[in-house]
Amino acid sequence: DVKVTQSSRYLVKRTGEKVFLECVQDMDHENMFWYRQDPGLGLRLIYFSYDVKMKEKGDIPEGYSVSREKKERFSLILESASTNQTSMYLCAGRGPTGELFFGEGSRLTVL
């Protein structure tokens, strides 16, 4: 199985702050994903990456950017955090038969 590690489990930030969410996977796989999860809305795809420095927008990219400088690391960036970005953020790596393996999640609160 792919092991995915998210660096921060809980964060509290102020409106307007820049926020970095870090994710590392331990397998040499190209595809990585960032989702957010909100009650009643399920998981929604923000961005994904299929190789180093390659990225594609998901369904809700507004207000977010990503960085992938190394194959194992995929970062989500909130340039100027807003209260509507309070959410659970989930990073995933793709396994060999198409399944996604998720990290433990990062719970972000924006005040």
């Binding site: 299929y50 996604l100 433990e104 999640g105």
Partner: protein, 112 residues
Amino acid sequence: EDQVTQSPEALRLQEGESSSLNCSYTVSGLRGLFWYRQDPGKGPEFLFTLYSAGEEKEKERLKATLTKKESFLHITAPKPEDSATYLCAVRGTTDSWGKLQFGAGTQVVVTP
């Protein structure tokens, strides 16, 4: 656009009381249907992948089945440790990257 609908939203079971969760999907062509378990405050844990109608997968008290329009997750003689939210997701043949479309989940509570 791929769509996934899960029902019921919530399910309360007595220990030992078997039941089924439903996942209905609309996709242009199915490349895979995935089941996950999620405990509160944690990331989803992968359970099964189903690829074609008629396929079944089992793990302990869980059994997943697939038809052309829906999937069922059967929980046989559940125990309190089976309490979790169960998520269903699909990947369509039009996707080249491995993106999954998720349903909103079914929250299962099993009481002793």
